[in-house]
């Protein structure tokens, strides 16, 4: 009797171990598939930016360049806006690759500068406007508070395409067409509601008593915000910074409408134009693509370490 029970127990244990093993294998395989799906395009982008035009089109593709070259990057940093690339002179500038340099190659670096300026300004202005607004909405009871929050949220659900024409009319009226100002202004209109929404959620999660304690301790409302709330909000501030930076950096539609020359064109516009040139150099475009993802990655790496949880642990009994 005892032996049968024992045997049954061992059987049960084996079945359990087997089911655990099966589950782990399934999870592992799924993870690999997902990782390939996410990383393969980026890997190809980076890999091909170090390949010649000829190598890129080889079949099967070379994931690791056989003859790595920096020609594509040299072409980007060598190109100047003054240098006119015409149909006749379009090739030969990249003799090693035999690729073609787009006629607007010289605009790439200035556009990157524009993108950086716009994104940075949008981030800063977002914080300046969004933080006090969110604090007020979260911690001060006033008439119309709920209505304000809903109103701000509603502006967020309107698709950008619906806003393009009104935006255009306003921007033209203000005389801001083809200037960075037009982009900063419209990107703010798009991102501030999101910022306020995220921060309101976060501030509401911080106990009211912290605010009261700070004010009884001698803080004005503003000091309470700066000295108590902001240090505790780092994770959500970082989320806001990353979101607004990336939104501005990637934005295409509004930039396409409001910018016409290299004076205000941003990176997505210039990059997209490369595909509609006389001929297309994939190696060059991919190198430009690699440059385009560098700033967001740098920003993400800088701020990622501030995204820590549990910063508020211990504020109140928990």
């Amino acid at each position: 009797m005892a032996t049968t029970e024992r045997a049954n127990l061992i059987d049960d244990r084996r079945r359990l171990a087997l089911s655990h093993l099966t589950r782990n294998v399934v999870i592992f395989v799924s993870a690999i598939v997902l990782m390939l799906y996410v990383l393969a395009p980026v890997t190809w982008l980076v890999s091909s930016s170090f390949q010649t035009e000829a190598e890129i089109v080889s079949v099967p593709p070379h994931w690791i360049p056989e003859n790595p070259t920096l020609m594509n990057f040299e072409a980007i940093f060598g190109a100047t806006a003054e240098e006119e690339v015409t149909y006749e002179t379009r090739s030969g500038q990249d003799p090693a690759s035999g690729g073609y340099i787009p006629s607007t190659a010289g605009n790439l670096l200035p556009a990157m500068g524009n993108s950086l300026i716009v994104a940075t300004l949008v981030v800063i202005l977002n914080l300046l406007v969004g933080v006090p607004a969110a604090y007020a909405l979260a911690k001060i009871r006033f008439l119309g508070r709920d209505a304000s929050v809903y109103f701000i949220l509603v502006t967020r659900v309107i698709p950008d395409i619906a806003l393009v024409v009104p935006f255009f009319l306003v921007i033209r009226k203000l005389g801001l067409l083809d200037s960075l100002g037009s982009l900063v202004l419209t990107y703010l209109a798009v991102t501030v509601p999101f910022t306020v929404f995220i921060l309101v959620q976060f501030f509401e999660g911080l106990p009211d008593e912290l605010d009261k304690a700070a004010r009884v301790d001698g803080c004005s409302r503003f000091q309470s915000l700066v000295r108590v709330f902001l240090p505790l909000s780092l994770p959500s501030l970082v989320a806001v910074i990353l979101f607004t930076f990336l939104t501005s950096w990637n934005e295409f539609l509004l930039a396409l409408m409001f910018t016409q020359t290299e004076a205000s064109q941003t990176l997505p516009i210039v990059l997209a134009a490369f595909t509609s040139d006389f001929t297309i150099s994939f190696s060059f475009i991919n190198a430009a693509g690699v440059l385009a993802i560098v700033p967001p990655v740098v920003v993400a790496v800088i701020f990622e370490r501030y995204i820590v949880s549990g910063l508020t642990a211990g504020a109140v009994k928990g």
């Binding site: 008593e209 912290l210 304690a213 009884v216 240090p231 549990g310 508020t312």
Partner: protein
Amino acid sequence: MARIRFEHVEKKYSNGFHAVKDLNLDIQDKEFIVLLGPSGCGKSTTLNMIAGLEDISDGALRFDDEIVNFAPPHRRDVAMVFQSYALYPHKSVFDNIGFGLKMRKVPRDEIERRVREAAGKLEIDHLLDRRPSQLSGGQRQRVALGRAMVREPAAFLMDEPLSNLDAALRISMRAEIKELHRAMQTTFVYVTHDQAEALTLADRIVVMNDGVVQQIGTPDDIYERPKNTFVASFLGNPPINYIDGQIESTDGSTARFRRGDLAFDLPASIAAKLGSSHGREVRLGIRAEDVDETAAGAAGSVIRGKVNSILPVGSDQFLGFDLAGQELFFRVGKDLAHNLGDDVALSVDLNRLHLFDKDSGETLLW
């Protein structure tokens, strides 16, 4: 240093909730006042109005003689301890305690001195470098007290400071708060829903319900001479028992309480206060401890019923008692052995009876 006076103070929220109604309260300098009441009774709102954290809808709030209705919290010389402690999680214990002084631009060495002194008194001087998250509940509570102490404020406000602590710690902290009040010689306003805290700590208790002050008085006043049934029921464990009935045959010197078969001759001191109230509907209150089983002698003051629950509480026991269909609870000695269903006779201490008007709930005695 601070006498705090409420004069016809009202608090209405924008959603129409009337949190505090016509509050008149004169808190003397160095007095320990406890605001006592169930949740939502307006006691915390009252405290927040003293701190300046809630606007006052109407009336005047004075510190000494100055009206402070519109002074923001940082302009009022008050310190506050919160139920959740509300320590700044990103600051060390030292910075938490010193923050109020830093905001008031006290010199650094003075801050250092006062923080260490307060930490020493509270026995948390070995924790000054820790973060709040590394402290136990009791230690956080001490930090919160320290943060208020170093300010040496004119008034010390406490919003249920002990309700997050476990029972044993709560009792020892009660003693410490009482000692703190004695040592600091300043006005304390303390909010709680715990009758035991109120009775142990207060010089005077303010009992509130639905935003209205029910009674203001010393702990003794409140317990022994409750003004209405709300106050009588709110204090006492188990709560006071009520028996509804009528006053019979009062000629100014004798009075009799009757409910069905149950009838008492009320003592002359009570009868004198009733005047001519023959037939009046009243509610008789008997505190749980005001009965005696051993001396069930004096005829006319005995109630009889069946035991239908027994709750031992260590030092004595609570007896659930069925009086002709009405459930009463009494506190009796634990050495009295009873079984469920036993018939019991209890002698009521007539001199400690409470008598209320049945409709208004107001006392008929004082």
